[in-house]
């Protein structure tokens, strides 16, 4: 199946000479949720803006639904909904008017039924006649999403949708995203919250300093990069790691009550069986055993550090 969004060697050099994108290539499959994870200034917004037509690429190409975003911009842009990072709204307009306007701008004939469904799904229906300036920050962000969904896009770009948003609204937003995915919409979201990528994405791309460092299935990424830790709780604290276990690189934690063994889940042999056998031989008595997986956060920090 051809990719719904195909980005080829995209470069962007701003007027001041700063190179914000250094040759990004990425294929996005229809119906997936992809999270672009990267620190501030990584080039996430630049990437989205270039795909959506707000900034002009220096070189490279992008197609959306097979349509080139420069030469066939009408067909390409018709498929795209964009929720910008900044809350850009006209303060004196009502919610309903501004959402209707967005639909018209994308060339779709008026359909108040559709707009009603969108506003209801975002809990904005009661506020439809309110002026935007009277809404809270979270509500304004919902209005931005409603605008982006007003013309029934097949690809939705969400640029840091939950930045500065309270926990409850974040959960709501994730529900909305899940609902959109269920209806077949492809979603590209940027975030610097790892938990967000971890919670809702199918694939994760890590971007840093204008380069896409990797793109991988979330699960595969976590296993590939993921290390697990085996926490061995002892019934009696021990002063030092027994000499017989020295080659396992164990660390002693919690005043000698816990031995921690770090291993790679992707390896064929994790060494756990042998460790436990050797451990029994030392005479130490175990009270509990647990394993912990590295969070995406640790993976991410590791990657970006490596790059620096």
């Amino acid at each position: 199946m051809p990719s719904i969004v195909a980005i080829r060697d995209l470069r962007k050099q701003y007027a001041g000479g700063f190179q914000a994108l250094k040759g990004v290539s990425l294929d996005i499959e229809e119906g997936e949720i992809i999270a672009l994870l990267g620190p501030n200034g990584a080039g996430k917004t630049t990437l989205i803006s270039t795909v959506c037509g707000i900034t002009i690429p220096t070189s490279g190409s992008v197609t959306v639904g097979g349509h080139d975003t420069v030469t066939d911009f009408r067909a390409a842009r018709q498929l795209i909904g964009l929720v910008p990072q900044e809350i850009n709204l006209e303060p004196f307009e009502t919610v309903m008017n501004t959402v209707r306007f967005s639909r018209g701008l994308f060339g779709k004939s008026a359909d108040d039924g559709h707009i009603e469904r969108v506003l209801k799904s975002l809990s904005l229906w009661d506020k439809r006649d309110n002026k935007i300036m009277t809404l809270s920050g979270g509500m304004k962000r919902r209005v931005l999403i409603a605008k982006a969904l007003s013309h029934e896009p097949r690809v939705l770009f969400l640029d840091e949708p939950t930045a500065g948003v309270d926990v409850e609204l974040r959960k709501d937003m994730w529900d909305v995203v899940a609902g959109l995915k269920a209806s077949g919409v492809t979603i590209i979201l940027t975030t610097h919250y790892i938990e967000e990528a971890e919670a809702i994405a199918d694939r994760i791309g890590v971007i840093s300093k204008g380069e896409l460092l990797l793109v991988e299935d979330k699960a595969a990424l976590m296993t590939r990069m993921g290390q697990k830790m085996l926490h061995i709780h002892l019934s009696q604290p021990t002063e030092a790691v027994p000499a017989a276990l020295a080659h396992y690189n164990l660390s002693l934690e919690q005043d000698g009550r816990v031995l921690v063994y770090t291993y790679d889940t992707a390896k064929e042999r994790t060494g756990i069986t042998k460790l436990l056998t050797d451990l029994a031989a030392t005479g130490l008595v175990l009270s509990d055993i647990e394993t912990r997986q590295n969070s995406l956060e640790e993976i991410f920090v590791g990657l970006v550090k490596e790059d620096a």
Partner: protein, 253 residues
């Protein structure tokens, strides 16, 4: 052609106008009435006639032009500057619309507003002076052309402006003086010969002269020249806007 988009922009802009209709109309009507009282009645009573027309009637075309040009310019410049200011321009730039459609929407709305105000002033004028219009269709055509061309100019100013001060700078420093010196309140033939020549470099002279011809059947410059001037001005603005959108000047990075 994305006509739905053009209509959406147009409606959105017109809705803004009608929301503040009283403000939009009171100020131009009031100031024009003041001009009629001061120039038409007070001073006009001491000036017999200009080119066979009573002075009160003579200044009507110039006054309408003054309002229409200022209104078309400020409305269009504000219309496109505001999305830049609030950031909602992202939507215009990412929508499936080209420069022609964006321009048609914004300039169309600004020109309509100016036309509306021009018409109201014309109606107001009938309360103050005896007025007959020699060439009504030419008058309407001239009025519409002026509204459109100055809205185009305003659109360019709105894209160029980086803040609200700059937005008001051009109308204040360029358009108002050009209109005042463009024969709104006098006939060019009343000037000393040197000034008559200098005045011919003021493009507004051609517009006011043509408009006055439509009212009274006489003009400072031949009507063909007036039409040529306004056509040239419109074409120059359209070319500038086409270039702006092609290069992304001041709007696309």
């Amino acid at each position: 052609m994305n006509l739905v988009a053009v209509r959406s922009i147009y409606r959105f802009e017109m809705a803004r106008f009608f929301r503040t209709i009283t403000q939009s109309l009171v100020s131009p009507v009031l100031s024009t009435s003041l001009y009629f009282v001061v120039f038409g009645t007070a001073i006009g009573s001491r000036i017999n006639e200009v080119e066979g027309v009573s002075y009160g009637a003579f200044i009507v075309p110039g006054l309408i032009m003054l309002s229409v040009m200022t209104q078309a310019t400020t409305n269009a410049s504000f219309g496109i500057y505001f999305p830049k200011f609030t950031g909602t321009i992202y939507e215009l730039l990412s929508a499936p619309v080209n420069f022609l459609e964006i321009t048609l929407g914004y300039v169309g709305a600004a020109a309509t507003k100016a036309l509306f105000i021009g018409t109201i002033i014309l109606i107001t004028a009938f309360f103050f002076v005896d007025l007959t219009i020699a060439h009504p269709f030419a008058m309407i055509a001239f009025l519409i052309l002026t509204c459109v061309s100055f809205a185009l100019l305003g659109f360019i100013i709105g894209i160029w402006a980086g803040n609200f001060e700059q937005l008001q700078l051009i109308p204040l420093l360029v358009i108002t003086p050009l209109v005042f010196l463009g024969g709104s309140f006098y006939s060019v033939s009343m000037l000393p010969p040197v000034w008559q020549t200098i005045t011919m470099f003021n493009p507004v002279v051609y517009l006011i002269s043509g408009f006055r011809w439509a009212f009274f059947g006489q003009a400072d410059v031949p009507i063909g020249l007036s039409l040529l001037a306004i056509a040239f001005f419109t074409a120059a603005c359209v070319t500038a806007i086409w270039w702006i959108f092609r290069t992304g000047w001041r709007i696309r990075q």
